[in-house]
Subunit: 314 residues, 3 copies
């Protein structure tokens, strides 16, 4: 679609350039020529001057920060505009004419469904009811237990085991909000990357990134009924115990342990070798490894002390 | 089955009327002629005098409150009696001879299963492993990702998107209890209604109503791994973040936001435009919109103050 | 494989006996002749003297406690050694040449998959997308809703109902850890036993035992999105409400009630007729029935008192 089409659809003020062809949406940092980007949070202002995006939706007063060759599309609600626009660039469920490629010595049960463009390595087992989306890549010696669902574009490494019913690559939970209180879906066009030797339990959900990749790094072990939000990065050799959760865009360093029912807010980072006790809730980044408990979070020793003090109130 | 059969089965005292035909069970308020109802909680006593039920199971001392034409079946354990009885009126998995109707431009993957009596609108995609129960109605432009399960009688609006592995309409968690501590299932005969423009994440569960409908109203967005109990009503444009939950018969007003891992007890109502912080736990109805935190729940400002006070204990 | 092979694989010191054939791994207590066992926790030292295992991996200084006929394999990291070894004895996904046996009046939907060696009783319904593993035994009048997955060797009693998407018998979350911080999977070779009259909700997960059985006893009712870890025992007529969880090796006595989002740590026991309020967290065994709340857990009355005291801080 053309910039002219977009501006007309969104009723935006277009300086000129209306026949410029736009191929997709991306962040200011990652956009390449042909893509449109947006500024919805002032902390990304620093990315304006170096963006490669062909056009950027942003408040008019910030337009001067753009590179000379970048086309501004001005709006007071850039995030909402991007959400509306994202539907036009949403990836279809199927988008490949290539028959799936299945490696040697791999078993695909008859009721598994593998979309076109998928590539499965050797020595894999895809059990009954498994779904593999278009353009998914799966390494060698991967076991997908029954009814595992891998959404399009996911990349799964070698020696990965995913237990029954888990869902990899479902849409991140991202919406812009209108002044009337409606929620407009930001169609998610990123993916999930799961590295080698990862094991994922049953009925766990890992969302795809809105842009870029949600990543589970080498050797991490994820239990049952866990939520991992869009754009999270789980470092090498992490342990996440059942019913724990990561909100979007949070990063765990290597060898982080999260106890049962623990959780983090979004956009945080947790230092390597941190242990979060069961039920702990992280609302600020953790810069130093250690053992933490409670909600609000504190050092585990302090939490024990606090509980002792509270017991004395009785 | 006849009232005579029922009384014999349950060893209840039947005044007369044993050949009266009973067609189903319902609440005092919603029962129509031909149905049997029950009084198990004194707060519903007010519904006795106006019930349209043909017969009511209730303690004998309350029988005088019934309309003259309503037949009392007397028991000290009416809820247990109804649970025993409910098995006889449990809806079968399949109950239609009509082939399913699939609208124009809709795609049903080969391993999806659509029961008789179901109606699918136009422009829908039912991916692999999807199950559609008998008499389910689905609107237009609905996407059901792989392995979504829709139990019988559910009604899904237009432009609804449900991510992989979610279950809509599973039985509510309702039991009567014997004096010996056994739990007798109350077979659930209600349904789920999901209105237009709702999006539901992966591996979420929404139970059907025991009688009537569990409802998710227009434009609400429900994340992954969320539990919505029987007979809940989620208002328009609500947001429920991952791993949150609603116990049975709770009502959210419009534009309520529930943070991650938050929850409510049952039989509550939450005022419109209320925000419940992550991890908050609601045990009483909220009559005034605002931002609330903690368990027990309090205004978010108070919760912050309390945490500051607790920190000073250390 | 021979002990010689094992010692070579793990670089362990083998006294002699290298041609002794080993058939499996088991606990000290349950191992029979031909099996290898291990000592990784001093609380099991008492089982050394009476073990029937043919060989035991243990620290060299404990070898003298073994029966004279038992062969020691000495290591300072016995648990890690067992984890490495367990892969060799991991049960294959399929291990029977016998066609499944389906009882009279049982319905198996076309997209359900029943592995060889499984036995299904009479009057059962296995709906679309159900998976039944090898050597699974299912009683009579069992309903498995769509996409339920039963892993190999599970035993399901009569009149059991399991709602859509639940997973029974997925691998317990068990790993040994190397000094470099890697996690080595302990392949799980136990099973799950579900007794008569149990109902299980939607998208719940019950892990198999590492050795022996995870058990859900007669008449218990388990709601949606619940996690039950490996080797747990849920007593008769228990109630577990949605999003609650049991960590591994915990035992609930009969008629325990667990409220929504409550949880226990592992290796605990909870006394019969205990009620755990919603959100409560159990970190020590409960020896006396009663009503408990909070995290840390306390008597519900005390918890109410504590909340009243805290409210006065404001």
């Amino acid at each position: 679609m053309t910039l002219h089409d977009i501006a007309e659809h969104l009723a935006l003020e277009l300086v000129d350039f209306s026949a410029v062809e736009i191929t997709g949406i991306n962040t200011l940092k990652d956009a390449v020529a042909g893509e449109i980007s947006f500024l919805s949070d002032s902390k990304y202002e620093k990315d304006l001057e170096s963006t490669q995006a062909t056009a950027v939706i942003l408040p008019s007063k910030k337009a001067y920060l753009l590179p000379r060759e970048c086309i501004p599309l001005c709006s007071d609600e850039p995030y909402l505009m991007v959400a509306h626009l994202s539907k036009f660039f949403a990836k279809p469920i199927q988008s490949s004419a290539l028959s799936p490629v299945i490696g040697e010595n791999s078993t695909v049960y008859p009721t598994a469904h593998v979309e076109n463009g998928a590539q499965i390595g050797s020595g894999c087992t895809l059990m009954s009811g498994v779904y593999i989306g278009t353009n998914v890549t799966i390494g060698d010696n991967v076991i997908l237990y029954p009814n595992v669902v891998i959404y399009r574009d996911s990349i799964i490494g070698n020696n990965v085991m995913i237990h029954a019913g888990s869902v990899i690559g479902s849409d991140g939970f991202g919406y812009a909000h209108t002044k009337m209180g409606e929620h407009i879906k930001l169609y998610q066009n990123g993916n999930v990357i799961i590295e080698d030797d990862v094991e994922i339990g049953a009925n766990t959900t890992i969302d795809c990134a809105v842009f870029g990749s949600t990543q589970i790094k080498q050797g991490s072990k994820i239990d049952n009924l866990i939520q991992i939000g869009h754009n999270c990065i789980v470092g090498e050799h992490c342990i996440m115990v059942s019913q724990s959760g990561l909100a979007g865009s949070t990063t765990l360093g290597r060898n982080v342990v999260m106890g049962g029912q623990s959780a983090t807010a979004g956009h945080l980072s947790v230092a390597p070798f941190t242990t979060l006790a069961a039920r702990s809730g992280v609302t600020k980044s953790i810069t130093k490894g250690g053992v933490y408990s409670g909600f609000p979070l504190m050092e585990h020793k302090l939490w024990l002390k606090l509980q002792a003090k509270l017991a004395k109130l009785l």
